[in-house]
C-alpha cells in the first residue's frame, strides 16, 4: 500500500462528503437533528415499559428470616427478578454492567427493625430505625421511579404486614445521593444509542459513493492508475474513520448540550470513542458489500437498508423498551455491543476493565474487522470494476 496515494484518495472522499449536500446531510446534519429531536422529545421521564426488573439484594446483616421474607415478597410481585448478593461490591459491579437495574441494601439492623416493629407496632419510640438504600441503573430511567416505590410497598405490606405504604415504618427507603433520580430522562437512556444510530448511515454513504463512482467510470479509471485496490480501500477507510470520529464528537457535543453528561473519566471517554470509531469499520464493510451487490446508486440506497434497519432498531435502543426477542436478536449485531459499551461506560459508570465493557469491545472489534474483511473481498471480487 502507498500512503501518499491512500491519503490523496481519502482527501478526495473527505471533500466529497463536505461538498455534496446529500452526503453532508446524512453524515453531519442528520445526526445532529436526530439528537436534538430526541433530546426535545424525550427530555422527560417516561417511555418504554419493561415487564420486569432485575434487582440484586445485599443483606448486610446476613441471611435472616426478615431478609428472606423481603426477597420472597419482592419475587411475589412478579415484576422483580431478585438475585441475592453476599457483598455490595459484586452487586455494584453487576449494576454498572447493566445486569441489574437496581441494588437494594438491607442494613445490618434490618432484622432488629422488623422485630421491633412487630413487637410494638404502635410505639415508634421502641422501633430500631434504619435505612434501606437503593442504587439504581441510570441507563434505565423508569427504574428510578418504579423501584423505590415498589420497595416501599414490599416492605410495608410484604414484610411488616401493614395495609398502607404511607403508614409510618421503622425503615426509610432512600436512593443514595449519587443517583440523580431527578435528572434521569428517557433521552439519557437513548443517548448512547444515538452514536451507533448515526454511524450506521455510513453504510449508505459508502455504498452510494462507490456505486456512483463506478457508474461515472471514475472507479474504473482509478483502477488503471498505479493505485492498487489496497490504496483505494485504505483511502476510503481513512476518510470514513476520521469521519466516524468527527461524527461521534459532534453527537457527543450535542447530547452533552442537551443534558447527557457521561458518568466516567477521561479513560472511559476515550474507550467509548474507540468503540465508536471501530464500529465505523463495520459500516464501511457493509457499505462495500452493498456496493458490490448493487448495480446502481439507486439500488445501493435501497439495498443498504437491509444492513441498516436491523442495526437501527435492534442495536441502538439496547435496554430501552425492546422486547426480549428483539434484545436477543440484537445480540447478533455489532451496533448492539457499541451501544451497550457506551451505556455501561458513560451512563452506568462501569470501569473500562469491567467484563461487560471488555466483552463489548472485543465483539465490536472482532465483528467489525470480519465484516470489513468480507466487504473488501466481496468488493474486490465483484464490485470494483
Amino acid at each position: 500500500m502507498n500512503v501518499r496515494r491512500a491519503l490523496a484518495l481519502a482527501k478526495k472522499d473527505w471533500k466529497r462528503i463536505f461538498r455534496e449536500p446529500a452526503f453532508l446531510f446524512l453524515i453531519i446534519l442528520f445526526p445532529v437533528m436526530l439528537t436534538v429531536a430526541f433530546g426535545v422529545s424525550f427530555g422527560a421521564v417516561g417511555g418504554g415499559q419493561p415487564t420486569s426488573f432485575a434487582v440484586g439484594v445485599v443483606a448486610q446483616g446476613g441471611n435472616s428470616t426478615s431478609s428472606t421474607q423481603f426477597i420472597q415478597a419482592m419475587q411475589a410481585t412478579g415484576a422483580l427478578k431478585v438475585t441475592p448478593y453476599t457483598g455490595n461490591q459484586s452487586a455494584q459491579s453487576a449494576l454498572s454492567q447493566g445486569q441489574l437495574q437496581a441494588v437494594i441494601i438491607l442494613p445490618s439492623s434490618f432484622e432488629e427493625g422488623v422485630e421491633s416493629f412487630m413487637a410494638h407496632p404502635d410505639t415508634p419510640s421502641m422501633w430500631v430505625n434504619s435505612t434501606v438504600s437503593i442504587y439504581l441503573d441510570k441507563g434505565s430511567p423508569l427504574t428510578t421511579q418504579v423501584i423505590p416505590a415498589m420497595v416501599g410497598e414490599v416492605l410495608s405490606k410484604g414484610v411488616l404486614g401493614v395495609g398502607a405504604a404511607t403508614q409510618a415504618l421503622p425503615f426509610a427507603v432512600s436512593a443514595p445521593s449519587e443517583v440523580k433520580v431527578q435528572g434521569t430522562t428517557v433521552f439519557q437512556s437513548f443517548a448512547p444509542g444515538l452514536f451507533a444510530f448515526a454511524s450506521i448511515y455510513m453504510i449508505m454513504i459508502v455504498a452510494q459513493s462507490y456505486t456512483t463512482e463506478r457508474e461515472s467510470g471514475l472507479l474504473g479509471r482509478l483502477f488503471v492508475t498505479p493505485a492498487t485496490s489496497a490504496d483505494i480501500v485504505m483511502g476510503s477507510m481513512v476518510s470514513y474513520l476520521v469521519l466516524g470520529l468527527f461524527q461521534g464528537l459532534l453527537i457527543f457535543a450535542s447530547v452533552y448540550a442537551l443534558g447527557y453528561h457521561p458518568q466516567t473519566n477521561v479513560a472511559g471517554l476515550l474507550v467509548g470513542f474507540v468503540a465508536i470509531t471501530v464500529f465505523a469499520l463495520c459500516n464501511i464493510g457493509f457499505g462495500l458489500v452493498t456496493a458490490a451487490l448493487a448495480r446502481s446508486a439507486g439500488a445501493a440506497t435501497g439495498l443498504s437498508f437491509v444492513f441498516l434497519m436491523p442495526q437501527l432498531f435492534l442495536g441502538t435502543f439496547v435496554g430501552s423498551a425492546l422486547s426480549s426477542t428483539a434484545s436477543a436478536a440484537g445480540k447478533f449485531l455489532p451496533a448492539y455491543y457499541v451501544t451497550d459499551a457506551l451505556t455501561s461506560l458513560w451512563t452506568r459508570g462501569a470501569s473500562i476493565t469491567s467484563q461487560t465493557v471488555l466483552t463489548d469491545l472485543a465483539v465490536v472489534s472482532a465483528s467489525s474487522l470480519v465484516i470489513l474483511f468480507v466487504g473488501i473481498q466481496v468488493f474486490k471480487h465483484s464490485g470494483g470494476r
Binding site: 502507498n2 501518499r4 496515494r5 490523496a8 484518495l9 482527501k11 478526495k12 471533500k15 466529497r16 461538498r19 455534496e20 461515472s216 467510470g217 471514475l218 474504473g220 479509471r221 482509478l222 483502477f223 488503471v224 492508475t225 498505479p226 493505485a227 492498487t228 490504496d231 470494476r385
Partner: protein
C-alpha cells in the same frame, strides 16, 4: 518480475487478443504493434470492439486469450508497472464532479506519484495546455461537457506518461478546443510519446494519426497510414475508406 525485452521501437504489442462477454466475442484474435512516438488511431463502428481493446490495454478487462504489453510490461502480470507508464482518458469523462479542475488533475498526479516539487508545475502546465487555467478553481460539475473532457485529458497527462490512451478524446468539444487538443497531441508525439486514440471523427484520424487500425466485429480489417489506406481503397478521405470497409448499416452499441 522483469520487463520483457521490447521489440525495438514498439510501445504497445497486442498479440492474439480475444475477449468474450457472455458468449459474445467482442475482440477476436487482434494482433497489433504500435510503434513508439506514433499517434495510432483505432477506428471502428459502434460495438466493433475499440473500447474493449482499450480496456484490455489498460488492464481493466482481463483478456479471454492473448496478451498485451506496454513498454515491455505485460499488462496482466506486470499490471502496476504497465499502469505507471500509461496515462488513460476513458470514453466516459470519469472525473470527480465535486472537485475543481485543478483538484482532479492534482489527485491523479498524486496517484501517479509525481514528485511533490514538480506536481504544481505539471498541474499548471497541463491545465494551461487544455485551456482550463481560468476555470481551474471551479467545480467540474459546473463545467460544460467539452471542458470535462479536457480535464479528463489533463488528468491522463499530468504524470507525463510514455504511452497515452485517449478513448474518443474530442467528443463534445467545440472546434477551438478540439484544435487545442490536437495541437497538444502532436506536441506530445514530438516529445517521443506514443498516443493511442479511438475516434469516430474521420478528419481527426486523418489529421492526427500516423497509422490507423480499423476494427470491425472485433477483428482488424485494415491497417496503415491514412494516405496508404486512401490509396489502397481509391478513396478521397478516411470517411470513404471507413464506409467502404464497414458498410452503411447503422450499428447499435457503444
Amino acid at each position: 518480475m522483469e520487463q520483457k525485452e521490447a521489440q525495438t521501437g514498439v510501445a504497445v504489442a497486442i498479440e492474439g487478443l480475444t475477449k468474450d462477454y457472455d458468449g459474445v466475442r467482442a475482440v477476436d484474435g487482434l494482433t497489433l504493434e504500435i510503434r513508439e512516438a506514433q499517434i495510432f488511431g483505432l477506428l471502428g463502428p459502434n460495438g466493433s470492439g475499440k473500447t474493449t481493446t482499450i480496456n484490455c490495454l489498460t488492464g481493466l478487462l482481463k483478456p479471454t486469450q492473448g496478451s498485451v504489453t506496454v513498454e515491455g510490461f505485460d499488462v496482466q502480470t506486470q499490471g502496476r508497472e504497465a499502469r505507471e507508464v500509461m496515462g488513460v482518458s476513458p470514453q466516459e469523462t470519469a472525473v470527480c464532479g465535486y472537485l475543481s479542475g485543478e483538484e482532479n488533475v492534482r489527485l491523479f498526479g498524486e496517484l501517479y506519484s509525481v514528485p511533490r516539487g514538480t506536481l504544481g508545475t505539471r498541474v499548471d502546465y497541463v491545465l494551461e495546455k487544455m485551456g482550463l487555467t481560468e476555470e481551474e478553481g471551479r467545480r467540474v460539475s459546473k463545467y460544460s461537457g467539452g471542458m470535462k473532457r479536457r480535464v479528463s485529458i489533463a488528468m491522463a497527462l499530468v504524470a507525463d506518461p510514455k504511452v497515452i490512451l485517449l478513448d474518443e478524446p474530442t467528443v463534445g468539444m467545440d472546434p477551438q478546443a478540439r484544435r487545442a487538443v490536437w495541437d497538444f497531441v502532436v506536441e506530445l508525439r514530438e516529445k517521443g510519446k506514443t498516443i493511442v486514440l479511438t475516434t469516430h471523427y474521420m478528419e481527426e484520424a486523418e489529421e492526427l494519426c500516423d497509422e490507423v487500425g480499423i476494427i470491425d466485429h472485433g477483428k482488424l480489417i485494415a491497417l496503415g497510414s491514412p494516405s496508404e489506406l486512401k490509396a489502397q481503397h481509391g478513396a478521397r478521405d478516411m470517411e470513404e475508406v471507413f464506409i467502404q470497409l464497414t458498410g452503411r448499416r447503422i450499428r447499435e452499441g457503444a
